[in-house]
């Protein structure tokens, strides 16, 4: 089957190259049949890559260790669920996932635009296939997933236990979907610039693709944050890690584009800027992919040596150079049709939002690449830490949240004092009330930024709530709908607008969670034995009794030994909840730590136990290395016993397991002190709730509406006609 897989990859590369040629030839010569052939190459690419993907996935599921990548990333003891996900634990497998998703989303884009934008599509298709050809050639020439070893090893190294989390199944595919989806707005922007057709239809299609990529990438980032929140030592939901930053940058630029493109649609301004944002966001998405695979920066996402740096640098250089050339050479087409009327207008608010988002991206870019920059300038690589990021990102985030309340209520073109009073009185009063309330609730001096954020968030809720209320009242007055029906039909008639408002509320809610948890989170690292307790932010956490499980594997991760503790949480004498943190131990395949030690001497994972509510999260984790350290004496004695036993190898294996069981039992009766991480984190749940609201809003905005194109086109022509009349 490996031969078929390898052939499929070569065929995929050839198909992509053929499609590029066919599309370009068809577009240049005006030959529809060649353009159609190019489009069908995208579908063919999807079909061929699906075959390769299925072959590799089957090899993982069937434990076919003849495949090097299976042997390195999976094992017999890896549970089926994680074997299926192990494919993208490897460099080759994740590249195959990347290019497969690329072909999937490209096919969708090509299908959606099958009867539209006839001039742009051939060029867009060739750009998409260009990415397909690039990633296929990486798989063919640099990192083939179908390399075999003969004879096949009897077992593999196993999926890294840290990755044995249900998130492994969904986070990488979602994140890669986001990254690959960014190639679509890029392709259509390049096509539009080449053909000089940056028109209303282009805006409408690109905006929708940009929104989809924004949603996917956002969801991918969020799932990653959620995973990191559960994993000890990953720095919580956000740690300013290089790879996290790499995903955030294109997302921020994309956010900027989704706003400024409205100015282009409504007022015909900022065309150069918008084209640059689309091209820049996609280039940053490829930079993100590059960072994960090149090993140029230190990250918890841990890259070994890799040979893929050079091809990626070439691709990124080509994208940057091509983008600059296209924007500069097409600047006549991209001339602005209007000037800014007033600094107090929605256009100005959007521009400020763009400046802030691009500034934020610059800060993150600089901080992320600082080791390389400082290495080039001073000769020694230096790193900036989280405090440096916070110093700049916190004020920028505050201003952005505030703007997300101002934007929806400030009118286009020019705000007058009268409508400022009408729109801003209520939100300002609400923010003021929050300020007063926060004086009584929290010591303001402890964190002015947090209080400021709460006020900004309340401002947003009031501003958006006011918009909903007014729209709803008008709708009720002009229709015979029931009150809830009026709300629904109001949103349905203008999905983009109200979807956007919902997103704004979600962002404000999300930042409330971030600010509260960042400021008021309390964590203790304490050494506890059963019967001992510690108090964290008013919560008394008492270790009641130890737990041990051998072979039964309570979390289905393939761990051989699971030790843990029951922790009872109470507050002022009242029972709150019971937590059960565990430490899981996996075998060491190298056998370096003796017959018994190797059974549990491999990786170890601390499983966090978490009790979530809308008010606070309480969690407890037991430090696996400290437990292992405490057991080391007994393990050494057990190793000695087995080694001095004269029985045959099979009997020695049995004895090893028996002694391990004895050690586990000893842990229950004579529990050594272990290191616990106890955390209380207020309001952190709202981070996830806010994110869900953001996605609900995004889906509302992206949901297909009949006649949307016609409406956008009509608006565009109406504006052109109006301008002609004025001229």
């Amino acid at each position: 089957m490996a031969v078929v897989g390898r052939a499929a990859l070569i065929l995929a590369l050839l198909t992509a190259l053929f499609g590029i040629g066919a599309s370009l030839y068809g577009a240049r010569r005006g030959r529809r049949e060649w353009v159609d052939a190019g489009r069908r190459s995208v579908y063919a690419l999807l079909a061929i890559l699906s075959v390769a993907f299925a072959i590799l996935e089957l090899a993982f599921i069937n434990n076919d260790f003849a495949y090097n990548t299976v042997a390195n990333n999976s094992s017999i003891t890896t549970p089926l669920f994680y074997r299926a996900a192990a494919m993208w634990g490897s460099q080759e497998g994740s590249l195959l996932l990347w290019v497969w998703l690329l072909s999937l989303w490209s096919s969708l884009a090509v299908f959606v635009t099958r009867n539209r934008m006839r001039e742009i599509v051939p060029y867009a298709v060739s750009v998409l296939l260009g990415f397909g050809a690039f990633f296929s050639s990486l798989l063919v020439f640099f990192a083939t997933p179908f390399a075999l070893t003969s004879p096949a090893p009897v077992n593999g190294a196993g999926l890294d236990p840290l990755l044995r989390n249900p998130s492994m199944m969904i986070h990488p595919p979602m994140l890669y979907s986001g990254y690959t989806f960014f190639t679509i707005p890029f392709a259509f922007a390049v096509g539009a610039l080449i053909t000089r057709r940056v028109d209303a239809e282009w805006i409408q299609v690109t905006r929708r693709f940009a929104l989809a990529s924004w949603l996917f990438l956002g969801l991918g980032i969020l799932l990653g944050a959620r995973w990191a929140y559960y994993e000890i030592g990953w720095g919580g939901y956000w740690g300013w890690d290089a790879v996290e930053n790499a995903a955030l940058m294109p997302w921020l630029i994309s956010t900027a584009f989704l706003h400024s493109v409205m100015i282009q649609e409504k007022r015909g301004m900022l065309k150069i800027w918008n084209a640059s944002l689309v091209l820049g966001a996609s280039t940053l998405a490829i930079v993100g992919t590059f960072l994960v695979r090149s090993g140029v920066l230190n990250s918890i996402h841990a890259f070994g040596a890799s040979t893929l740096g050079v091809p990626f640098v070439i691709l990124i250089s080509a994208m940057v150079a091509g983008s600059i050339y296209l924007v500069v050479s097409r600047r006549q087409v991209l001339r602005s049709e209007h000037r800014l009327d007033s600094l107090f207008s929605r256009e100005a608010a959007f521009m400020l939002n763009n400046v802030l988002l691009v500034g934020l991206t610059f800060v993150i870019f600089w901080g992320t690449f600082f080791p390389l920059i400082s290495g080039a300038i001073t000769g020694t690589e230096s790193e900036v830490g989280a405090p440096w990021f916070d110093r700049y990102t916190v004020p920028l985030a505050l201003m952005l949240v505030l703007l997300s309340g101002i934007g929806p209520v400030i009118p286009w073109r020019r705000a007058t004092l009268a409508n400022a009073r009408r729109n801003f009185t209520l939100p300002l009063l609400a923010a003021l009330a929050m300020l007063v309330a926060s004086f009584t609730l929290i010591p303001i001096s402890s964190s002015p930024a947090t209080v400021a954020l709460f006020c900004c968030a309340v401002f947003v809720f009031a501003a958006v709530g006011q918009e909903f209320w007014r729209g709803w009242r008008v709708r009720r007055a002009t229709s015979s709908d029931t009150p809830p029906g009026a709300l629904l039909s109001m949103v349905r008639r203008n999905r983009r607008r109200y979807g956007g408002y919902i997103v704004h509320v979600g962002v404000a809610v999300l930042f409330v969670g971030v600010a509260a948890s960042a400021t008021f989170q309390r964590s203790h690292y304490v050494e506890l034995k059963p019967g001992q307790s510690d108090v964290v932010a008013g919560y008394t956490m008492k270790v009641v009794r130890p737990t041990a499980a051998i072979v039964t594997d309570p979390t289905s991760t393939g761990a051989l030994l699971t030790l843990g503790a029951i922790v009872r949480v109470s507050r002022s004498g009242h029972y709150v909840t019971t937590l059960h943190p565990t430490a899981e131990f996996f075998p060491d395949p190298s056998g370096a730590e003796g017959p018994v030690g190797s059974l549990i001497g491999g990786d170890s994972v601390s499983e966090l136990s978490l009790d979530s509510s809308f008010r606070r999260d309480i969690s407890a984790a037991i430090d696996a290395p400290s437990v292992q350290g405490a057991l080391q004496g007994e393990i050494n004695r057990a190793n000695f016993l087995v080694n001095s036993d004269k029985a045959g190898p099979k009997a020695r294996v049995d004895l090893s397991y028996l002694l391990l069981a004895a050690i586990a039992h000893g842990y229950l009766t004579h529990t050594p002190a272990a290191q616990f991480k106890l955390t209380s984190s207020p309001l952190v749940m709202w981070l996830w709730v806010g994110a869900l609201i953001v996605f609900a809003g995004g889906l509302t905005a992206i949901w297909p509406t009949g006649g949307a194109t016609a409406r956008v086109r009509a608006r565009y022509f109406a504006r052109v006609a109006q301008d002609l009349g004025r001229a």
Binding site: N72, S94, N298, A302, G304, G367, P371, S374, S382
Partner: protein
């Protein structure tokens, strides 16, 4: 002022502001950053009172769990050879912490060796995206 000139002034002012802000950002990044060093480099140039990002692999037989969650270990150069430095660490230990693993920790000179900033340890996990590991 005519509109064209007004726009020019506005452009110059905003560009100056942007350059100033970027300059401040760049300046602080150099002053706030910690140098990333290997154990051999650290031994050669460490000054008291300065924090460094130390990158190295955990030396076999050097790990000791002391009372109150204190962890002692030695780090050696990733490339092998050179000398190793003793590190005293407190705080959460990431799961992949093991002998032979590569890790990054923020340290400053103190005690008999180097004291790590509490909770600053980041481990690199060698199995992901690395060339074939011998099973």
């Amino acid at each position: 002022m005519n509109p064209g000139r007004k726009r020019q002034v506005r452009l110059v002012v905003s560009l100056t502001l942007a350059v100033l802000l970027a300059g401040g950002l760049i300046y602080t990044s150099f002053s706030a950053a910690d140098e990333a060093l290997t154990p051999t480099q650290l031994l050669a140039q460490a000054r008291p009172g300065t924090e460094y990002e130390l990158t190295g692999t955990v030396v076999s037989g050097s790990v000791r769990h002391l009372a109150n969650g204190v962890l002692d270990f030695r780090l050696a150069d990733r490339a092998g050879g050179g000398r190793s430095v003793p590190v005293r660490y407190t705080g959460a230990v990431p799961d992949p912490f093991r002998v032979g693993r590569e890790l990054i920790v923020t340290v400053s000179k103190g005690g008999a060796g180097f004291v790590a900033q509490s909770g600053s340890m980041v481990t690199k996990c060698p199995s992901k995206y690395s060339p074939a590991k011998s099973a």
